[in-house]
């Protein structure tokens, strides 16, 4: 499902003395099957954009096209249910989306709401739980009597249970421990690769952008400043620094050693694996030119 923003603006509390403009002149397109990362400073409008992806907010200017639906400021709030099934959003604060008495009911709520039977909803719930690193002992607990990271996992499970076509993630790993972060990011990536899920990820972790995304959007103060492949955008390290955004750790390190050692990598490495490959090339070619020729495997 392609998603396109045309001249989108959004003003909170429009028409009141408190109105504040959060988005303006937004043009962007998210292709079906892509993995899009949205980055930008605190308050730049990332969460506001995400809430347009399933018409939770309607633009106050312009239009948002989601598959064959076009949402404009005057779109009727009725008949949006189909959209909510196709586009699942994990919110920035997980408490915002938990509400049932038990974890089991909370996860099963979405599927049941969209017409799945009791037994199947239960089966879906049991299949999803281990994906977010929880076991069945959690099913009967209250989702509010959990640790922060456990709540986050339940919130993610509830959205995965919807089996959406587009998965929208607002800093989904904040508060997760590193193992959980890696496992759950891998689950999202597998869904993307194996089932062609479209993913839209908001993150402050440039390493996550480098590791997973094939499309990147940079927001600043409510509008899009750049859109392109992460490798293109991370080439512009100085521009990003000037926007106080930074680059992945591997890019930063690659730039440091290229400058220091006078090396020039064939392509800018985005991940540590890519960086290690580039470094190995330099070590090996240097060796072939062969000064003293230390044997491979010699320790220092």
């Amino acid at each position: 499902m392609d998603i396109t923003f045309r001249d989108v603006g959004y003003t909170y509390q429009k028409g009141t003395p408190f109105e504040s403009k959060a988005l303006y002149d937004i043009q962007l397109s998210i292709k079906d099957g892509s993995y899009t990362a949205i980055v930008g400073h605190t308050g730049s409008g990332k969460s506001t954009i995400l809430q347009h992806l399933n018409a939770l907010r309607k633009p106050t200017e312009g239009s948002v096209q989601i598959g064959d639906r076009t949402i404009t400021p005057t779109t009727d709030n009725k008949n949006l249910k189909g959209l909510r099934k196709k586009v699942g959003i994990v919110f920035q604060f997980p408490e915002a989306q938990l509400f049932e008495e038990t974890v089991g009911k909370d996860i099963a709520f979405g599927p049941k709401n969209f017409g799945v039977g009791e037994a199947e909803a239960e089966a879906i719930t049991k299949r999803i739980l281990p994906l977010v690193g929880l076991d069945e002992t959690f099913l009967d607990r209250s989702p509010f009597d959990l640790s922060g990271g456990q709540m986050r996992r339940v919130a993610i499970a509830g959205v995965l249970a919807l089996e959406p076509e587009v998965l929208v993630l607002d800093e989904p790993t904040a508060g997760l421990d590193p193992q959980g972060r890696k496992d759950i990011m891998d689950v999202f990536y597998r869904l993307h690769k194996d089932q062609g899920l479209t993913i839209v990820l908001v993150t402050h972790q440039m390493d996550d952008v480098a590791d997973y995304a094939d499309h990147m959007i940079v927001l600043e103060s409510g509008t899009v400043k750049k859109e392109g492949h992460p490798r293109e955008i991370f080439q512009q390290a100085e521009w990003l620094e000037s926007k106080q955004l930074g680059v992945p750790a591997a890019v930063k390190f690659a730039n440091t050693i290229q400058k220091k050692f006078g090396w020039e990598f064939k392509q800018l490495p985005l991940t540590t694996d890519e960086l290690a490959k580039e470094i190995a090339v330099f070590m090996k070619t240097h060796k072939q030119k062969g000064s003293k020729g230390r044997a491979e495997g010699d320790s220092l």
């Binding site: 308050g43 604060f93 540590t272 290690a276 470094i279 190995a280």
Partner: protein
């Protein structure tokens, strides 16, 4: 030794019938002026531990001593005035109808004179770069803005101890560093003690000492360098590998020899340079 916080053999279960207690015999002490980071996997008991310190949770057994006072029902309010806590979810913490009122709230409660109050509010909002938002409703802010306001509230209070429970999780790396250096500034001036609960390696690195919690117990402690040198085991402890460690693992896969000891980024640059010139 002047301990600001001492926990002695704390046991706590949320429900009586629970098999695994949330806190399972925790003993620790924090010196006045010290900055201690607490790390550990999800559900290991970090937030529960923090809540015992200001009496939000009463341990089943064991004692909590804060700034020389053995915590009990009589002195709980005195103790809460000494402990400034930033909760994991800032929405649980806002009381004011505007950002400014919210920051003022704690100060009014302590009877701080008006002028001093104004000065502290201005300072705190300025430090977290939220001055322009003083008249806004806290609930109507972005995630990172909410976390900044929650931190401003504590900075303005100037308590003896600041507890940060994943208080920077929604900030970008630069924003996080700004907030941490604000806390450092205040700490230097006021001999503040800091307890920071975090999954972020940079935040842990800001500490004098790191405690690792697992299943309600303190399982390791050490300086950040000592803890970071655990390499791959760090992941189980609830921290990510530092970048040089990750790069080391990738270089190994490429068949290069890498040293075992912990390398900083500069150490890594030096190592690569030596390797390259020796080849």
């Amino acid at each position: 030794m002047d301990n600001i916080i001492t926990l002695n053999n704390i046991m706590f279960r949320y429900l009586e019938e629970e098999e695994r207690p949330a806190l399972n015999g925790i003993s620790l002490s924090i010196e006045r002026g010290e900055w201690v980071a607490i790390i550990g996997p999800n559900g290991s008991g970090k937030s529960t531990l923090a809540k015992t310190i200001n009496g939000l949770i009463e341990p089943d057994t064991g004692e909590v001593t804060v700034s020389g006072l053995l915590l009990n029902e009589e002195n709980i309010w005195d103790i809460r005035a000494k402990v400034g806590m930033v909760f994991q979810n800032p929405d649980n913490q806002f009381v004011g109808s505007t950002v400014e009122d919210d920051v003022a709230f704690g100060l009014e409660n302590q009877g701080i004179p008006r002028e001093e109050m104004q000065r502290r509010i201005r300072y705190a909002l300025d430090k977290v770069q939220m001055t322009d938002f003083a008249d806004r409703e806290p609930a109507r802010l972005s995630g990172g803005q909410k976390q900044r306001v929650a931190i401003a509230g504590i900075v303005a209070l100037q308590p003896e101890i600041i507890i940060l429970d994943e208080a920077t999780s929604m900030l970008d790396p630069k924003g996080r560093n700004e907030v941490l250096s604000t806390v450092k500034d205040v700490k230097k001036r006021e001999n503040l003690s800091v307890l920071s609960i975090t999954h972020d390696i940079d935040e842990a690195a800001a500490a004098n000492r790191v405690l690792v919690i697992q299943e309600g117990k303190v399982v390791r402690e050490g300086t950040p360098e000592e803890i970071f040198s655990y390499g791959e085991q760090l992941i189980e402890m609830g921290l990510d590998l530092p970048f040089p460690e990750r790069l080391k693992a990738s270089l190994k896969k490429e068949g290069l020899d890498v040293p075992n000891e912990y390398l900083t980024e500069e150490g890594m640059v030096d190592f690569l340079w030596t390797l390259h010139s020796e080849m």
